[in-house]
């Protein structure tokens, strides 16, 4: 059985507001899932329900094909929001406490501290840690029972570039060992760099669930530039080769309607009397796809 998580019509209402609407989600083993969505799209509520800190209004979920949540939770490591520890205890003492909660041996403490590079600072009080160290300690705590699934909620939020790189390296190291990772984020760039799969949420519903590669395959983007940008824009708008044209600084960015090679595009404009100074054909990135998805749902509504 390779299915790690399955939800059925999972819903949460806060008064009249539907934070999560009939969420049906399947997560497979051994992938890094990115849970994407704008603020207020229901990411944290969903994770909260899956970790049984938020009582769902409706629906069920199964971890590892079991609905005994008090048992399955012991096979999951999770951090939601910012790292939470007892500030007056040292890292080592905090991890001992978490070990007691998870009912695992203290023997795992040193290996996880090494994993996140905190073995030399383990006797320092938590309150004296920097944010990056706190976040790494949180990952260490989540890894204590060698979980099958690691859940992270915006793990690089508020970190400096060095901290972000460290966290990403740790995540990739953990994923390399076969641990399934579910990571909520609103940083598209981050999801694109780390994740193999992506789930896009908006207003409590799933818009997309699939691999990161496939989400970009659906459309091709072209970047064009010429001396007379306005004339170029007119030409592009008139032609039936492109759709959704936009000016970005000194470039035009357009979506291609059908398969066409760069030579043909170049020839087309040359024949119309425009010499292109810039021509790049590429797959649409996640950012573009993401906004596309959001826009489409708005049109439906």
């Amino acid at each position: 059985m390779n299915i790690v998580l399955e939800t059925e019509n999972l819903s949460k209402n806060y008064g009249k507001i539907q934070a999560v609407k009939n969420l049906n989600l399947t997560v497979e083993k051994g992938n890094i899932y990115g849970l994407l969505g704008p603020n207020g799209s229901g990411k944290s509520t969903t994770l909260g329900m899956l970790l049984r800190v938020v009582n769902p209004s409706f629906g069920t979920w199964k971890w590892f094909n079991s609905d005994k949540h008090e048992e399955t939770i012991k096979q999951i490591g999770a951090i939601i929001e910012s790292p939470k520890f007892y500030p007056y205890l040292s890292a080592n003492q905090n991890l001992k406490l978490v070990s007691d909660i998870k009912n695992t041996s203290y023997k795992n403490i040193n290996p996880v501290l090494e994993l996140v590079g905190l073995e030399k600072r383990k006797d320092d009080l938590f309150k004296n840690y920097s944010l990056g160290m706190k976040q790494r300690l949180a990952i260490a705590a989540a890894m204590l029972n060698n979980p099958k699934v690691l859940i992270l909620d915006e793990p690089t939020n508020g970190l400096d570039p060095e901290g972000i790189i460290q966290i990403r390296q740790i995540i990739q190291r953990i994923a390399a060992n076969g641990t399934t990772i579910i990571m909520a984020s609103h940083l598209l760039d981050e999801v694109e760099k780390i994740c193999s799969h992506v789930v896009v949420l908006n207003k409590g519903s799933v818009l997309y669930n699939g691999s990161v590669k496939e989400i970009g395959n659906e459309e091709q983007i072209i970047e064009l530039s010429a001396n007379d940008l306005n004339k170029l824009l007119l030409m592009v708008q008139k032609s039936n080769l492109f759709k959704e044209v936009a000016i970005q600084k000194d470039k035009l960015i357009a979506e291609i309607k059908k398969e066409i090679s760069p030579e043909e595009i170049n020839k087309y404009f040359f024949e119309k009397g425009i010499i292109l100074s810039h021509l790049v054909l590429k797959k649409a990135n996640l950012e573009r796809q993401f906004f596309h998805l959001l826009k489409n749902t708005k049109n439906h509504v």
Binding site: V54, E70, I80, E81, Y86, P87, I101, K102
Partner: protein, 273 residues
């Protein structure tokens, strides 16, 4: 249960300030009893020797000391409120749940440690009274009225169950402690209302005030101020009158202990962490 207590132990005793505070608390219980013979309040310029008045005489000693020690429930309540609200301040309640502690287990870890603290406090008071009583009195009949220690334990237990409920309800220590005072005032108002509308209209003196059985009132009524009798002092040399524990208040307080423990559990279970 052992696991839950181990977790609580680490939360409390790995903290240096907590270690000092708890040590001082227990030393204080012992200290108050030990230093009582040296307290000689002066009234109208005359020093009153409480020992000569029979403060430490059996069987009055159990009521006398238990009454003084019953004020310790306020300290206990503050300890428990700060222990619970700190979990909300640090956000560790939620993280504990995520790490695999069930809401039920979290409730029981706090409930157990609070009950244990009440039990240890009452036991220390009991042992100290026994030691002091055996110094000042013949051994025969020394345990008469020692049921006051059981009553003290129930008083602590009943009071901390209310404190535990308020701590989980408000999640902030200031609100929890303040609400305890407001609650007390409200019960006082209810008592006045009952007095005005029931007692003044009915001339029967034996009528039982129902407001005496409100949560905080019944708790405070378990161990009453020892009764004095000046005439008895002049004739027999002992000022205190013998009293026994009123078990109707013990039962009422225990009932509230069950109710508030259950409410607290329900509150945790129903609310999002």
């Amino acid at each position: 249960m052992y696991r839950l207590l181990k977790i609580e132990w680490k939360k409390i005793f790995f903290h240096k300030a907590n270690r000092i505070f708890y040590t001082l608390y227990f030393l204080m219980i012992i200290g108050i009893i030990l230093f009582m013979p040296y307290i000689k309040p002066s009234i109208n310029g005359e020093n009153i020797d409480l020992i000569q008045l029979g403060l430490f005489n059996t069987p009055f000693i159990w009521n006398n000391i238990a009454y003084i020690m019953s004020f310790g429930k306020l300290l206990l309540a503050i300890i428990i409120i700060s222990n619970v609200t700190m979990e909300f301040n640090h956000g560790t309640y939620k993280q504990n749940i995520i790490d695999g502690l069930s809401k039920k287990e979290f409730f029981f870890s706090k409930w157990l440690s609070a009950a244990l603290l009440s039990l240890i406090s009452a036991l220390i008071v009991g042992i100290m009274i026994f030691i002091v009583a055996s110094i000042y009195n013949p051994m025969a009949g020394i345990l008469v009225n020692s049921s006051y220690i059981f009553a003290l334990f129930i008083e602590y237990l009943g009071f901390i169950s209310i404190a535990l409920f308020l701590a989980f309800l408000f999640k902030r220590s200031v609100f929890a402690i303040l609400s305890l005072f407001v609650w007390n005032i409200l019960e006082g108002i209810i008592q006045i209302i009952e007095f005005v509308f029931r007692k003044l209209k009915v001339s029967d003196n034996n009528i039982i005030a129902l407001s005496n059985y409100l949560p905080l009132k019944s708790n405070g009524n378990i161990i009453n101020l020892p009764k004095f009798n000046l005439v008895q002092y002049l004739t027999e040399g002992s000022i205190f009158k013998e009293t026994t524990v009123d078990f109707s208040y013990v039962i009422a307080s225990f009932f509230y202990f069950i109710i508030f423990s259950f409410f607290t559990y329900l509150l945790i279970k129903k609310r999002n962490a």
